[in-house]
Amino acid sequence: SAVISQKPSRDICQRGTSLTIQCQVDSQVTMMFWYRQQPGQSLTLIATANQGSEATYESGFVIDKFPISRPNLTFSTLTVSNMSPEDSSIYLCSFFPGPKGYEQYFGPGTRLTVT
């Protein structure tokens, strides 16, 4: 099965700063997703990142706050901008392998704490 990695695995950041999270997949995939998960809570989809087009954001999430890049079929970044303590969460990337696979594979997550 495909391998997906994220970095950093965790970070502690000051409010008002920005953090970029990287997600790398070891094979080419069409659809990548970014989720946010509060400890003990469900997964909230932030956006779908498609290569070659703008990311599609879910209600409550905007590009200015969470800009996403998808420069190729194996890589994506999520930036959490102008952070506040409310942004403290686990951020997970995932991918959908495509027409022959229907399950989503998740990265190990980035645990972000904003002070």
Binding site: M31, G40, Q41, S42, L43, T48, F106, P108
Partner: protein, 113 residues
């Protein structure tokens, strides 16, 4: 929008007891998927159900998809400490079978030895 409700939110069992979590959607689903997230880990895919009334088994785990394709359940027989974690159901909106998933809130299972 589409909502997927999952109950119970928490379940504490003694090792050897059975466990069931239920998932209900406000709209018809194309399919239902189940994921398990170990403490400190990331969600891992368990299974997908597609057909109305479908039942699938994985060792001690039994998954069901309702006749109306709006509800699903996961039943674990004779729980073990390795079953500890959060179980999420997730579905695709009617008409699509890939891409964006809507996740339930998850059931956190604790197994006491």
């Amino acid at each position: 929008g589409q909502q997927v409700m999952q109950i119970p939110q928490y379940q504490h069992v003694q090792e050897g007891e059975d466990f069931t979590t239920y998932c209900n959607s406000s709209t018809t689903l194309s399919n239902i998927q189940w994921y398990k997230q170990r403490p400190g880990g990331h969600p891992v895919f368990l299974i997908q159900l597609v057909k109305s009334g479908e039942v699938k088994k994985q060792k001690r785990l039994t998954f069901q998809f309702g006749e109306a394709k709006k509800n699903s359940s996961l039943h674990i027989t004779a729980t073990q400490t390795t079953d500890v974690g959060t179980y999420f159901c997730a579905g695709h909106k009617g008409g699509t079978s890939y891409g964006k998933l809507t996740f339930g809130q998850g059931t956190i299972l604790t197994v006491h030895p």
